[in-house]
């Protein structure tokens, strides 16, 4: 049990995917303009990351390993993740319009993201088992969601404030992200 708790704490705080590992920076900068979209993105990411880490574990374990084709991991993971997400999107679209409204446009966006592939590859690298992989993916997504929502909240206020002209727009956003990253460095050494 402690093992899983540690995985969660580590992925959310200590080794945050965005601020420490610098993965998934494009949605972090791209969809953090509004709190509402950031939340939608966070939900979609949580869903995709958990699903993809599980799927890629299965593919790696039961298809690639027996056939000794581990060197095909990257291309295989991308293929699997894309298909699974696409398929889920179709099913959600048909069965639950409400859920589709929330996740709809974000699902395909997050699919082709480095964080997703990163989770799958890191799982293999660190020799995670099935449940460990699932928790690792989930934790990474939670960490991503946390900073994305925080960042969106900050940006929402920043956009309406009177920033010096030279810093307006993405400049101030990047500075903010940098300061947030510094802040998250403080979590290093949280778990011994």
């Amino acid at each position: 049990m402690t093992e899983y708790a540690l995985i969660l704490i580590s992925t959310i705080w200590v080794n945050n995917f965005v601020l420490v590992k610098f993965l998934g920076l494009c949605p972090f900068m791209g969809v953090s303009r509004k709190l509402e979209t950031a939340m939608g993105m966070a939900l979609a990411t949580t869903f995709v990351l958990t699903l993809s880490s599980v799927c890629s574990y299965l593919v790696n374990e039961y298809i690639l390993a027996p056939l000794a084709l581990e060197y095909l991991r990257t291309i295989m993971f991308i293929l699997v993740i894309a298909v699974v997400v696409q398929f889920t999107e179709m099913v959600v679209h048909k069965t639950s319009p409400l859920l589709y409204n929330v996740l709809g446009i974000f699902l395909p966006l997050i699919t082709t993201n480095c964080a997703v592939l990163g989770v799958a590859l890191l799982n293999v690298q660190e020799d995670h088992g099935f449940l460990q992989s699932a928790f690792y993916g989930f934790g990474a997504a939670m960490g991503f969601s946390l900073v994305l929502i925080l960042f969106a909240g900050i940006r929402e206020r920043i956009t309406v404030a009177d920033i010096p002209e030279a810093f307006q727009g993405n400049a101030i956003a990047l500075i903010t992200a940098g300061i947030m990253s510094l802040a998250f460095m403080g979590f290093v050494g949280l778990v011994k």
């Binding site: 929402e156 206020r157 956009t159 309406v160 404030a161 009177d162």
Partner: protein
């Protein structure tokens, strides 16, 4: 400073300009025509919509004009007004006082109040009859009579209670009866002991145990509806709700007196008490003024402006609007004319927000004025609403304490009117969409119907043709034969008169041969 002398009745002006739109809600419809003589208290308009109020002639005279005149409104725009040239006779129309209002049903009482054109005299001018009709789903427990002046400087309610306490109490009894409410609380600020005493005396005479006078602390803006309810009952009105949702109706004292006059004397609302005050006025005092009197005239009767008078404000110092001219009529919702000697906030240049949070501390509605300001100034209208812009009562506290002198309230008013405008646009576009879709459907239907008719016609023709051909083979009736013969003749004639094409003249033999060949082929194909 305006309570030193008693309420003075303003003298009858020569001309009264009465705007049609003095209340919240729809305009009423005009009943009179230009040149007509009207009597005092005669209705000039009739309210057709539910949320609306009629206006009445404040004095007898001739209607000289029905046209647009500048309105006492921050925009300075003009509205439709009825102008009456008074004849000085003050001749009343036939009034219908109610001898015993307890015999009447609540609906009848409401109707009288509605036809008397009574609106909330606290300043918002919401039609009172609508407020007195909470509907069966909202039983009213308490009626709160708002005797807390809405703003500093204003004293018209204070003077009214001092001098006409009986009218106020009588009006409250009518309201209690109309609403079927159990008790009424008269909320009076503790800086008005004379008014409280007058009310207590009057209460002692009527011996009504359901009406209580409650003293409340004099802290601006306790006169705000929701703030008053919180102070008195410790209940909070929900953010998007009305006081009736928690079983409370709030009425202004001036309104109660007007209700009293409407029921017991049959008098419509044609005058009101207004405070004329400020350092720019020579003799500040309260005046009983006919609706439609020019502001200039009222100020004249208060001794006129002092030498250093600078700015005329309609309403109080916190929420009032500055007026560009004093040639504007007094309307039902106008409780105060304030003349300031220094320009409002003169020499106080607006500076950037330093995020001190002082505004948040003073906001009586517990809002975040600073966030509202940021989002309003950057036209973030969704966000402004998320921060509950519409709970803002525009009391002006935040702007008053702002060390940067930011005109915060104006930002909120800007955002509110913009949002209303967007809402109107959206409604209009929805409406246009429905109409466009309907037109599209109609055009489609018409096209379908036309096609259908055409098809039917064709079928009919074909049928006829078939029948005809059958008929002609079966029996040739003489008439038809004659027609056919005629047709044949026409054809022959046509054939004979057809112009022979000139390009077949002077042909070579070869060409002629070719033509013959073609003709032959044509003949052959025809016989086939």
């Amino acid at each position: 400073m305006s309570t030193a002398s008693p309420i003075r009745r303003a003298s009858l002006p020569e001309q009264l300009i009465i705007p049609l739109h003095q209340h919240i809600g729809e305009n009423s419809e005009i009943l009179v025509t230009k040149g007509e003589r009207v009597l005092k208290g005669q209705p000039l308009t009739v309210a057709k919509a539910y949320v609306s109020a009629p206006i009445h002639a404040p004095s007898s005279g001739i209607v000289t004009d029905i046209a647009e005149y500048p309105a006492p409104h921050p925009s300075g725009l003009s509205t439709l007004c009825i102008v009456i040239k008074t004849d000085g006779e003050n001749e009343w129309a036939d009034l219908e006082p109610v001898s015993n209002y307890r015999d009447l049903s609540t609906a009848e009482l409401r109707n009288i109040i509605r036809h008397a054109g009574i609106v909330g005299l606290g300043g918002a001018a919401f039609p009172t009859a609508v407020k007195l009709n909470p509907g069966p789903d909202h039983p009213i427990d308490t009626v709160i009579i708002n005797a807390a002046e809405c703003e500093p400087y204003i004293s018209c309610d204070d003077m009214l209670m001092r001098e006409r306490a009986d009218e106020v109490i009588s009006g409250i009894e009518i309201i209690l009866h109309t609403l079927g409410a159990k008790k009424a609380l008269i909320a009076i600020e503790n800086n008005k002991p004379e008014a409280a005493e007058a009310l207590q005396k009057s209460l002692g005479r009527t011996a009504n145990e359901n009406i209580h006078v409650v003293a409340i602390p004099t802290i601006y803006p306790t006169g705000g509806e929701k703030q008053l309810i919180k102070v008195l009952t410790n209940k909070e009105v929900p953010s998007d709700g009305l006081p009736i949702d928690i079983g409370i109706v709030v009425q202004n004292v001036g309104t109660t007196a007007a209700i009293h006059r409407a029921i017991h004397f049959g008098e419509p609302l044609i005058s009101r008490i207004i405070t004329v005050t400020g350092n720019g006025i020579k003799q500040p005092q309260n005046m009983d003024v006919l609706i439609g009197t020019s502001m200039a005239e009222v100020i004249q009767q208060c001794g006129g402006y002092t030498e250093n008078a600078k700015q005329l404000i309609m309403g109080g110092p916190m929420m009032g609007f500055s007026m560009h001219t004093d040639h504007l009529p007094i309307i039902k919702g106008c409780n105060c004319l304030l003349v300031e000697t220094t320009e409002q906030r003169q020499g106080m240049q607006t500076m950037p927000c330093i995020r001190c949070g002082e505004c948040t501390r003073v906001c009586p509605a517990n809002l975040l004025p600073q966030q509202l300001y940021w989002h309003a100034s950057s036209r973030n209208f969704d966000q402004v609403q998320d921060y509950h812009l519409f709970d803002c009562i525009e009391c002006g506290c935040c702007a008053h304490v702002c060390p940067s002198h930011i005109p915060l309230v104006q930002y909120y008013r800007f955002a509110k009117t913009e949002i209303w405008n967007q809402e109107r646009d959206r409604k209009k576009s929805d409406h246009a969409r429905v109409r466009h879709d309907f037109r599209q459907a109609r055009l489609d239907r018409e096209k379908r119907e036309r096609d259908e008719r055409l098809r039917k016609k064709k079928e009919m023709l074909e049928k006829k043709k078939q029948e005809e051909s059958q008929a002609s083979t079966a029996e040739i009736d003489p008439k038809k034969a004659a027609i056919n013969a005629a047709l044949e003749r026409v054809k022959m004639k046509k054939a004979s008169t057809t112009v022979t094409p000139k390009n077949t003249n002077n042909l070579t033999e070869e060409q002629q041969k070719k033509i013959d060949e073609v003709d032959k082929q044509r003949q052959a194909s025809k016989t086939k």
